[in-house]
Subunit: 132 residues, 2 copies
DNA sequence: CCGTATCCTCCTCGATACTG
DNA sequence: CAGTATCGAGGAGGATACGG
């Protein structure tokens, strides 16, 4: 039956494309940067090493779970280093690696475009919404 | 009761932070760019005007629903223009606005960092995974 | 102080079917 | 050709409670 075959072809094409996207470096980077808390963490650590609780205070809206999870992901990616000072209570600090620091210009480029142009985007949205 | 008050304070702090993030230009831009299909659409349109079906063919993995939805969002944001040629069947074309074109260097910066450094990230992940 | 473990909710996205 | 409408599954992320 022709329709079934067409549906199967579409499914297969999608699976292949998903595999392509999963392997795509840009896609992977975009997924990381888009994580709700990554840009904020990178910006906080741009000024130097910070303790867990300092980051948590700076980024007042983050939950413990998400902060820990995001920091772990970034550590795994080699973007930052986690160092534990064994004391009571323990002291855990995070700082950017050179790889992490090399990401800062990209974050700043995004920030700069946003600050220069999101106003125009807002205007465009208002115009669109009144027309439709 | 002290615990209830602390919980309420946390909730309130989070709500304020959420409002801050919702208004943050960088956050808004990041959310757009991170949309699964936006970077691909921008890249496709970087070469010039394209018809709906051309974009759909180029981005083989996208569903009709998501392609239309993403294109509408980008049109609403003033990133691209949708033009309809009344014929049978109708012909709908999309092209970047100057605002949309100004976004291309940002996308390219992301792409460039990814292509240069995601290899290092992959290596870091492998090292991390074998250690843990 | 710095987490881990569960549960639960919202929201995105894909599948499918239908239309001018 | 270029959509729109509806439904359902899965995952992200927050609330809460507990642990070294």
């Amino acid at each position: 039956m022709a329709t079934a075959t067409a549906a199967q072809r579409r499914r297969r094409a999608r699976e292949e494309f998903d595999a392509f996207l999963a392997a795509c470096p840009s896609r992977q980077l975009l997924d990381r940067l888009a994580d709700k808390w990554v840009a904020l963490i990178l910006t906080a650590l741009a000024e130097g090493e910070q303790r867990y609780s300092e980051i948590a205070r700076t980024i007042a809206g983050v939950s413990q779970k998400m902060l820990t999870q995001t920091l772990r992901n970034l550590e795994r990616d080699g973007i930052l280093i986690r160092s534990i000072t064994p004391a009571v209570p323990v002291r855990v600090s995070y700082r950017l690696t050179p790889l992490g620091e090399s990401l800062l210009p990209v974050v700043r480029a995004i920030k700069q475009w946003a600050e220069q142009n999101m106003g125009a985007v807002q205007d465009a949205r208002r115009r669109y919404d009144t027309r439709h």
